[in-house]
């Protein structure tokens, strides 16, 4: 009998521990509370601005998490992630724009197109990520992203250039539609879109978490830590890296679709530019690389700060209207993000969630002693 139950391997033991702790960990309760809060948000705060920030935080959290899958979990340093986001956003916008009138089937079609494009382009990118030294790959992806940005600006007949494309959504999702009141809140296209974004973002995020915890995710981590060892253990590191590239790209491009769905406007500056890539990096670093949940913290931090910091600085301008340089100092709030970014990388390289986990682990170790 004893022969049929061989001793657990360390990995099995860790998995068993994770499975046992699944419904008791503090993290789970935090997630449930977060989800409930986001679901009730329209009733809790009746401000479009708060709802707007909440929706964008959800989209960017998933986008950043998908980037974390590449950089934090697989060690692939690509600077073309914003490009996939842009591909997704443009998919929806251009289908509706060029079709003339928005129809229901445009939404799944856009999701399909976004996925297809992302798979195609990411396969090419993945091919290079395997052939090139890390540094050359960074350069290649940076150049590719820049090229996509230039295309979106200069291919005027397709993208309307720098003006961007604003469009309407079909039927119930149209801003004009209103379906009466529910518990004191007007049910309209905005609200429905918010819930679509919420559901899709939650789904994608869970998908990323499952992916990272899956056997494939473990292999990716082992490739990041020591590629030769993973190869020596018999894993085809090749295939796993392609998988990570493609999966990350597809999620990013679906995030782009969600973003377009929410803001109903797509332009090079708002979905393709290096600024978006910088934002992704900023959110990831502040939240913490290789944690996945750090992306939620990072996205919330940056987007909330962006929304209200700009206000605060505008107030500064009102009080000090005479000095030109001071005025611009108040205008260029991105400057402060840049400084923050550099400081975080130097002094706080694990980010908020990474550092919090480290402190928690240290405390647990001390308790055990």
């Amino acid at each position: 009998m004893a022969d049929q139950h061989p001793p657990q391997t360390p990995v099995q033991a860790q998995r068993a521990q994770e499975a046992a702790g699944r419904y008791t960990r503090a993290g789970l309760w935090l997630q449930v509370i977060l989800l409930v809060l986001l679901a009730l948000e329209p009733w809790l705060v009746s401000s479009f601005r708060v709802m707007d920030v909440a929706a964008k935080v959800m989209i960017f959290a998933v986008l950043v998490a998908s980037y974390d899958l590449l950089l934090g979990y697989t060690g692939i340093f690509s600077l073309a992630h914003a490009m996939f986001f842009g591909l997704g956003a443009y998919s929806l916008a251009l289908i509706i724009h060029h079709a003339g009138a928005p129809l229901w089937y445009h939404l799944p079609l856009a999701a399909l197109l976004a996925t297809g494009l992302a798979v195609l382009v990411s396969l090419v990118v993945a091919f290079f990520s395997l052939r090139l030294k890390a540094l050359f790959f960074v350069v290649m992806t940076l150049a590719l992203a820049q090229f996509a940005d230039i295309l979106s600006i200069q291919w005027h007949s397709l993208t309307r250039g720098e003006d961007g494309v604003s469009f309407k959504l079909p039927g119930l999702l149209d801003v004009g539609w209103s379906g009466g009141k529910l518990w004191g809140l007007t049910v309209n296209g905005r609200l429905l879109t918010y819930y679509i974004v919420l559901a899709a973002a939650a789904l994608l995020f869970v998908g990323l978490v499952r992916f990272v915890r899956s056997p494939a995710g473990r292999v990716l981590k082992s490739i990041r830590d020591n590629e030769q060892r993973a190869t020596a253990l018999g894993y085809k590191t090749f295939n796993y890296q392609i998988l990570a590239n493609v999966f990350g790209a597809v999620v990013a491009s679906l995030c782009g679709v969600l973003y377009a769905l929410w803001v109903r406007f797509v332009g090079p500056e708002s979905v393709m530019s290096t600024a978006i890539m910088l934002n992704i990096l900023l959110m990831l670093i502040i939240g913490g690389m290789g944690t996945l949940y750090g992306s939620i913290v990072g996205a919330a931090f940056i987007l909330v700060a962006e929304s209200w910091l700009a206000d605060g600085l505008r107030a500064v301008k009102v009080f000090l209207p005479d000095l030109m340089v001071l005025q611009r100092l108040a205008d260029r709030w991105i400057l402060y993000f840049g400084v923050l970014f550099v400081l975080v990388v130097i002094f706080f390289p694990k980010g908020l969630v990474g550092s919090a986990r480290e402190i928690a682990a240290r405390r647990r170790a001390r308790v055990r002693e």
Binding site: F77, F128, R131, L132, K133, A134, L135, F136, V138, V139, M140, L142, A143, L144, Q146, F147, I150, L151, Q154, W155, T274, L278, L281, I285, V325, R328, L329, D331, R332, I334, L335, F337, G338, V339, F341, V342, V345, I346, P349
Partner: protein, 339 residues
Amino acid sequence: MNSTAQSAAASTQSAADLKRWAGWVVGVGIWLLPLLWINLTTYLVLTVAGVTMGMLLFLTASGFTIILGLMDVINLAHGAFFAWGAYTGFTVLGALNKLGWVETGTLGQSLVSVLICLLLALAVGWVLGVLLEWLVIRRTYGSHLKQILITMGAALVMAEVIAILWGPNDEVVLTPAAFTGSLDLWDVVIEKFRLLAILVGGAVFLAMHYVLQRTKLGIIVRGGVENREMVQALGHNIRRIFTYVFAAGAALAAMGGTMWSIYTREIRPDMGESNLIFALIVVVIGGMGSVTGCFLASLMVGLAFNYVAYSVPTLALGVNIMIMAVILLLRPSGLMGRS
């Protein structure tokens, strides 16, 4: 027996020669391809424009490649030095114009104003380079990931500071009077400033070549690219040399920025970004750490950009990405890089 072996050796030798020759013929001949769809006069004009762009790219890319080769530092803030140089030149020309030296004035005054621009740009680049190396780069030795992140942040901050000091909008740069207009050589129209840019770029290349090949500093730098530790153990303070090289690279980029701004006549706070992309492509094609490779790659990128931009402007960057991809697939370390 012996003679067969010899002739076999000779034939592999001649095969290798043939291959090298074929490489040269293809490498040079490919630049004549645009003649298929561009007439000769236009082709020559574009070639001059391409060489000009190549020379100016070289100013930025050469610093980047040496910093990468010697210090193993990826500096994505390199383009920001370029932008700072451009704004320095813009300010200097604006000030000198009040003296009547720029838009009007003699050849001498034009020359002196460009010279002042270049010297001040070098100084600004040097100071910023030393500052950045001390404050930021030192903390990132050995970690490419940190370097890329930190220098991206630094590039953003440096561009933002430009926007604060000079304003966020495009500005028009004045061209010194003696360098406006163009020469007409058998219907080939060549802007005068392009000739100056080619002269300056060529001079910098030669000077750099001299310093690297003939001086002790050059030997230390080349030795350091190969084996940093040994150069230290032979009694050289490599850290101080890092600072100098970093600052020199920054100064060259700033000088390139000044030349570029006078050449294109417009500047923007984020102009460093697109220049950086081209410089990166040049560095990758040329092979990191190789100045000669960098020079050849600069010319390649400049020429390819101009030939393609003339026909399909949208694809000009795309073609360079393709060249980079092809070269990397053929030679993963670049044209002159060591594997």
